[in-house]
Symmetry: C2
């Protein structure tokens, strides 16, 4: 999951949900579940396809940094995999995008006491000279404290920003804490800082820093890194002792210009071309620190495994299910924009994205047109046996489907529990060990039921209007 | 906790405990607990001294690799701290020892697919050339498989040894799994290997490798590293696919010759110089990857905090309590041997060591002379309210007190639960975050009760004979 879109989407989901709870009408009487849907759902609880995709992608491809040779290998691997699974119209659509790559990264406190630091550069970070910089650290417990610092007050200094993140099931704390990463570096640069280190936007206490993109817009790109949470706490503990802290940083990432990235597309063809496409997927690229098992090999695997169950069900769906494994999400949502630019004019009935890890799905969110309200009731009834509650939030969240959804497409959210997601998100720990096969199966079952219902719904699923963002 | 002594001690404890359970006599009727002991014990459940020591040592000193300037700073810090706490006869005793220091360390799979690895050199590892080595990997699922390989069969290859470790409360799995680290590198060198990588001797699944000493004796020191557990699993998953694996390793540690290390000693003077010394402590040095919070700042802190409670109790104990913060434990137990060489002829009544983390104490082990059997009953009764069981194992385990105990000194073990210890042991994660203040207080309470009983026991606590090791 990336930052910009995710931030907007998460903030919206949270702010929308709060008043809605108060006004909520009494729940509708439970609808019956179509036995075919129930059977497909329950069979998916024994799914092995999703785990096989995650295991294969993490082992045989590994990290998949956007715009690099590794992401290109991932596209080749993915197209072959999707063909082997029996999908139709499998193809790769490429586009150009600016690419940033990591270099050397080291940091240490040099005074008042030597302490080695575990840190990692943020995406788009500027570089220090090859032998690094050493400077005094100015402590900002929160992003608001940094914002309050006068312009020019940080000249020649290294800014430290705390901005502690709490665990939340819906991930809403990512927006609040994450602004230190999304916007902190540009703000520190504006105030004259030579570099910035932030406490990782994460909820764990391991010595594994969380990377992620930051945006400098038109300003200068200063060196910008995230400290692991224990290292950040150490800085704060040293700061409390009152002596000046000096830090040395070596960060040598670089921008390597426009490179090729791409989306991988596969379909389960429908019988009614006028009924609109059901667009699902996740993102193929990952950060470079790990093999991107939960972010987002799991998302592409869950959605493809569910679509394959419809493909293999012996009955062609009414609507075409289009599975897209988007490229270059982490670094700014390039794949999602390219898809919308190329396919936005095709009729999309509904869109849904999986990009929040591999934990169980706990909540259903929907944005449907009035004509499709019964579809929503059927979805809620079919998902309830999996432990999924019908929420009040919108559907169609996600950075990759965002540009398409923004054109007025209905959407469903199958929200995964995010309480532990930010323990691992964007760290070297995002490996296969973080994926629980049972949780993955619950996801596949929910997605299978959802697809069986929406792809075959006799109702018209037309455009929706969404609140302005 | 180091390897050589720990291995012997743990294997002994395990093998001794198993038959003893079967033969165990009915427990003695519960002895009453001296109200003074109970009061000291219960007051210690509010202790802040131990946490303050751990916090201070990890923040103000940081890593304390044996024989380096950092360990010397730790001695200075410690002597000042122990004096400030009111201990008597605080002094530093130095000795010389050979010192190994870490260099650069990087590794990657280069074929069949590029995958970056998280690894760390083992103590005493040899070095690769500065630009590294690249070679084919030969997979040995266990240490026994490596042992079965013919001499010369690994010429020019990199050996990989799995030897998975399970969680055990008493830590006994460390010996069984750990042999891959203690002895695997020398064995691989003997068979011609150019280098060796092992699966970390650890029970976690984070991308944080576990270091620790290996011993080459008289053979050549080849480059030897531990992969994090997820990286080791990745190697095994690639191996299952059947294509040859090639790995690149850059490891540039070096031996820097004889350097100064030392023990820090402090006392609570007793009233009866003929009653023998009660020797307690842990080790001051740590591995260099982290701040050594659980290994072993916690051990030195717990023992000193308990001794301070006796010091401040208003009544001088009968026996002198000597707190020793040993140097250079991790790299071969140099501090413990120096102490025994300098002090072994003094009369020691009893010895006890804390070097197994910061989790709760669950079991009491004792090796006491016949004359002191009632002391054992009183200990068991006083510790039971803390949830501590009376075990059948010996007392006096530990690498640092080992050489003194071997001279025939009685001993007590206050065994900490080790189920999670090897999640963190010797990794970059051994920081303050791993220390639960409540668990630390339970330790201090147990140690305080133990000291109150043994330091004041009217019984003679004379020499003991132990089974041959």
């Amino acid at each position: 999951m990336t930052s910009r879109y995710a931030l907007a989407v998460l903030l919206l989901a949270t702010s929308a949900a709060v008043p809605a709870v108060a006004q909520r009408a009494a729940p509708a009487a439970p609808a019956g579940v179509d036995p075919r849907v129930a059977a497909l759902r329950d069979a998916a609880l024994k799914d092995d396809v999703a785990y096989d995709i995650v295991e294969g992608m993490t082992t045989e491809v590994g990290q998949r940094l956007a715009g690099t040779e590794a992401e290109a290998r991932a596209r080749t691997w993915s197209a072959a995999k999707l063909k082997a699974l029996g999908f139709k119209n499998v193809r790769i659509e490429t586009y150009q995008m600016p690419v940033w790559v990591r270099g050397e990264e080291r940091g240490e406190v040099v005074a008042p006491v030597p302490q080695k630091l575990h840190l990692t550069a943020l995406g788009n970070s500027g570089a220090t000279p090859a032998n690094g910089i050493e400077a005094e650290v100015v402590i900002f417990p929160t992003y608001a404290d940094l914002a309050a610092a006068p312009d020019g007050s940080l000249t020649g200094k290294i800014a430290y920003v705390g901005n502690t993140m709490m665990k939340t099931q819906d991930g809403s704390s990512y927006g609040q804490a994450g602004v230190a990463r999304f916007a902190g570096p540009a703000l520190a640069a504006k105030k004259g800082a030579a570099a910035i280190v932030i406490r990782s936007i994460g909820t764990d206490t391991h010595r594994l820093p969380h990377t992620g993109t930051t945006y400098f817009r038109d300003g200068p790109a200063i060196p910008a890194a995230a400290l692991s949470v224990p290292d950040a706490k150490l800085i704060e503990a040293l700061a409390k002792r009152g002596k000046p802290i000096r830090m040395k940083l070596v960060l040598t990432p670089r921008q390597v210009g426009e490179q090729e990235s791409g989306n991988v597309i596969a379909e389960v063809p429908g019988t009614d071309p006028n009924a609109g496409i059901v667009l699902i997927g996740g993102h193929l690229d990952s950060w470079d620190l790990a093999t991107g098992a939960i972010d987002d090999a799991s998302g592409v695997a869950i959605t493809a495994a569910a679509a394959k169950r419809i493909l293999d069900s012996g009955k062609r769906p009414r609507r075409t299910i289009r599975v897209v494994w988007f490229g270059a999400e982490e670094v700014g949502g390039f794949g999602g924009r390219d898809y919308a630019a190329k396919h936005g004019k095709e009729r999309h009935a509904l869109a849904a994205e999986s990009d929040f890890g591999a934990d169980k799905i706990w909540r259903l969110g929907m944005t449907l047109p009035e004509s499709a309200k019964p579809v929503g009731d059927r979805l809620a009834a079919a998902l309830a046996p999996l432990g999924i509650v019908r929420g009040n939030g919108p559907g169609g969240s996600g950075a990759d489907i965002g540009p398409t959804v923004a054109l007025g497409v209905a959407g469903v959210d199958l929200n995964q529990s995010g309480s532990d997601y930010f323990d691992v998100h964007h760290t070297p720990d995002d490996t296969l060990d973080r994926v629980d096969p049972e949780n993955l199966r619950q996801n596949v079952a929910a997605w299978t039921a959802m697809l069986a219902i929406v792809a075959d719904a006799p109702e018209e699923i037309g455009p929706v209007e969404r609140p302005a963002r």
